[in-house]
């Protein structure tokens, strides 16, 4: 297939259409939706991969306008490198989750079996819609679609957690929407590209950006707006936890990156610093609380709180002054971190899910001997943990390294130390469950879990590591359509 052949296919639209079509198919199918999803998931993965290839091939963002109406009247769908990277990661994680759930998803009740697949596909579709959207209001709709599906999946596990999540999410959406409204009032367009090229620096724009940021923070669970996340992710069913922690919280982050790097409203830099310091607080606070948890899934959930903090360091490091030579590297580093975290965190939650299936609970103190009974799962957990800690050769290490380079080059020594210290804290809270699993004795009859099921988290974890080993390709992808003015890397 040639580049033009690829371009002839509406790959960009299909990345959104296919999951949505799948959900419309799965809704009447009820619990037979599993088969439909399993049939569709590889196709979506393929389409996503082809899209990435097309982006790489053409070396430029791919852009379509829905209905053929040019912006600002119509809605643009735009896939640049970062979109491609997030789409592909999402497809990988979603496929893994689908396979995982379809193989052994008999645990849930009738409800869960019947509505899980539409919600799952809605999440996927909404994520993809976020990643390719070029329109602020469309982003709002996609975000709300995401919220609906995500909250409902959390509700499988805990109504209370779902309610709390919903409160945070609603407030976030509204505040975001308020910003969007202000932007339209000020500029008369929702299109990100137009807003960016207009170089909008008026008060409406900056305040709107501040509001949108605040709203997205609540949805992205950045400290101190994180409190909904651990109960939600810790109590949701395994596949939901994986999706939520790996991807759903990344969507608002993605939009923030779009806002601050693509639209690039004028900023005094203080807000960027503020975001960075909230990130620092998240890293420290999330890690310390992760150490205090007595349930495996809560450890992983608090780890997400901490890891999200890393992503927000991109704002002080690369957001305040976007034309410094190292900002491109730093920015790419943060994205790497996000992608690697997505893969690794999904692996962790799936591994935790296997543990729960095997022993019926996830209390840390009752996990002794698991390394013998579920070696592959524990191994997967370990490899994913390595990624989360940001150790080489994982993608997170590449991310951390790039960010560290930027931090030191920009004189942010404190941030650099926090980044490194955060890795140590991650080691502290992740090795704790690992070592308890390795503890011999206290043999408890663990339910046998099929190897083909255990292999799913392992593959995800290996993908997170592979992201670091084969970093050059994703890095090159990320650079396509990157709006930073900085040059490549820091040769």
């Amino acid at each position: 297939m040639t580049a033009s052949g690829l371009a002839a296919l509406p790959l960009l639209e299909l990345t959104v259409v296919l999951p949505l079509a799948g959900l419309l198919l799965a809704l009447p199918l009820g619990h037979h939706g599993a088969r439909a999803t399993l049939a569709l998931a590889p196709i979506i993965l393929l389409v996503t991969a082809l899209l990435c290839i097309e982006i790489m091939w053409s070396g430029a963002p791919i852009e379509r306008v829905a209905g053929g109406w040019d912006v600002p009247l119509g809605i643009a769908l735009r896939a640049d490198g970062i979109s491609g990277a997030f789409l592909l990661t999402t497809a990988l994680v979603a496929c893994a989750v689908a396979v995982f759930q379809a193989q052994g998803g008999q645990d849930g009740g009738a409800t869960r079996r019947s509505t899980f697949w539409p919600l799952f596909l809605a999440t996927w579709g909404a994520l993809n819609a976020v990643f390719v959207s070029g329109d602020l209001f469309n982003l709002y709709v996609a975000l709300e679609l995401l919220t609906l599906a995500a909250v409902a999946m959390v509700a499988y596990g805990s109504t209370e957690a779902a309610m709390r999540y919903l409160l945070f999410a609603l407030s976030g959406s509204l505040v975001f929407l308020l910003g969007v409204a202000l932007i339209y009032a000020g500029s008369g367009t929702f299109d990100i590209g137009l807003l960016g090229s207009a170089g909008a620096g008026d008060t409406a724009m900056t305040v709107a950006a501040a509001f949108m940021t605040a709203g997205l923070l609540a949805k992205a669970a950045l400290f101190p707006f994180h409190a909904w996340l651990p109960p939600a992710h810790g109590n949701a069913p395994t596949p939901a936890s994986a999706l939520l922690s790996a991807l759903v919280v990344k969507a608002p982050f993605f939009i923030l990156v779009r806002i601050w790097f693509d639209i690039g409203p004028e900023t005094s830099g203080v807000l960027m610093q503020l975001l960075g310091y909230l990130g620092v607080a998240a890293i420290l606070y999330g890690s310390l609380l992760a150490m205090r948890q007595e349930r495996l899934k809560l450890v992983i959930a608090y780890s997400t709180v901490a890891q999200l903090g890393y992503l927000f360091l991109v704002f002080p490091l690369a957001g305040a002054a976007q034309d410094l030579p190292w900002t491109a590297g730093t920015w790419s580093g943060a994205i790497f971190h996000a992608l690697s975290h997505a893969l690794a965190k999904a692996a962790l939650f799936l591994a935790a899910g296997i543990v729960i299936e095997a022993v019926g609970h996830d209390r840390l103190q009752g996990l002794a001997g698991l390394a013998r009974d579920l070696p592959m799962t524990v191994f997967a957990f370990g490899i994913a943990a390595v990624s989360i800690m940001g150790l080489p050769p994982s993608g997170a290490f590449i991310g951390k390294y790039l960010m560290l380079t930027g931090a030191l080059a920009g004189g942010h020594v404190f941030l650099a130390i926090v980044m490194i210290g955060g890795g140590l804290l991650a080691a502290a809270y992740l090795f704790r469950p690992l070592r308890l699993m390795l503890l011999a004795g206290e043999t408890q009859p663990a339910k046998a879990i099929a190897r083909r099921r255990q292999v799913v988290p392992l593959l995800l974890a290996l993908a997170a590591v592979g992201l670091g080993i084969a970093a050059s390709l994703p890095y090159a992808l990320l650079q396509i359509g990157r709006s930073l003015t900085a040059t490549e890397g820091i040769e």
């Binding site: 590297g329 790419s332 390394a371 013998r372 070696p375 191994f379 370990g382 390595v386 800690m389 150790l391 080489p392 050769p393 290490f397 590449i398 390294y401 790039l402 560290l404 380079t405 030191l408 080059a409 650099a416 130390i417 490194i420 210290g421 890795g423 140590l424 080691a427 502290a428 090795f431 070592r435 390795l438 503890l439 011999a440 004795g441 670091g468 970093a471 050059s472 890095y475 490549e488 890397g489 820091i490 040769e491």
Partner: protein, 489 residues
Amino acid sequence: MSGIMPALLMLCPLVPAVLTFFLREDSHRLRNAVAIGSALLKLALIAVVLLGVAAGNEYELRIPLVPGLYMLLRVDELSLLFITLSSFLWLVTTVYAIAYLGGHENLSRFFGFFNLCVAATTGIALSGSLVTFFFFYELLTLSTWPLVVHNGDEKSLSAGRTYLAYTMGGSAALLLGIVWAEGVAGPVEFIAPLDFEDTGTLAQRLIFVLCVGGMGVKAALIPLHGWLPTAMVAPAPVSALLHAVAVVKAGAFGIIRFIHDVYGIARVEELALGLPLALIASATIIYGSVRALQQTDIKRRLAFSTVSQVSYIVLGASLAGPIAAIGGLVHLVHQGLMKVTLFFAAGALAERIEVRSVDQLDGAGRRMPLTMVAFSLAALGMIGVPPLAGFMSKWFIGVGALEAGRGWVILVLAGSSLLNAAYFLPLIYRAWFKPAPEGAVSAGAERPLALILPAVVTAISVLGAGVLAGLWISPLGWATLIVEREYLP
């Protein structure tokens, strides 16, 4: 073509590592064959490369990651020194481990991580840049942890925790140092000392402290040595790996690399960093020996001995002079050979005749003669008795120190030698000159041979490395070659 060799050398332990993880627990034969076969294959490869490098060939493999970040595997004289040591010890340790762990649980996991550990060490040896070094340095940390906690009891796990806490802390400092160094001087390759033109001396010093401090954790410099004695709870082959083949070596090797190929000894001197490092190394040497003297558990005594001995390497590297550098380098190999022998023997003693503490050693020479001969040889080598390997190291470090104007170092060497004698000779004495306790069984103690022979082989190499030190291919010969190429470019 030149990139294939490093890749093959890397794959040689890596492939069996991955394979082993997926082997069924009871396929012992296949697992052993894979392990030993790949170790032999690697030695053969090394022989080829060794000749190539001696002939001036260059082997280099560069894998780009992201702009400004790439993996660089390069074979030079120094990497060969380390890789040869580690591969040789890998082979004997594998044989030993197979015999030692026969019948244990979780062997696929064990050998998987074991081989991974060797892969990491290979990577460290072949690293051509600081970042690559860090990659494998961390891989080593991680692959060693499951080995340390292999027994799965509370004690091993807590040792594992201590191990991680120390080593990951060290790695964190190292990472900061590396990023900083690269930030001010660009990608750091181990070719020529860095260009620090625009960097203040304070920054240069801090980078040095971060990096060497970070690596000093693995090299067990005081006060960063705490993990090493604690990690003794691991099975004996693991101790051998930690103390001789991989971990402490990686730290010491890194420090040598850093001093010689990143800063250059001249700058280290200029920045007045050599003396403090030499002092710390010296303090470690003495402290480790004294602590060893206090131990009654054989393995713990050996562990503190490692603390002391590894610092010889650092000491050698920190002295500004070619002869001391040779001493440090050669001790990298010699200490490995001697310490691995000691641990093999200690493991065999514990495993076969339940001898774990010093006072149980009485008559052990009669009960396990081959083992104790090997042990004694290695111990004498540690003391520095000529013509054993350890003497060569001490001689070169001492002479090098005098040549570099750090005469006080020889007092450290003397004190350490005396202390070494004080904690090793009693063991030899008990084993050979005290009667075995009543009812001690010694029949069949030295079986299986695979448990005993590795120690004998390494003991012979301790002797050989000393007696044949003048050969160009001996550790000393090779270290001399390295330093000649370094100091006389």
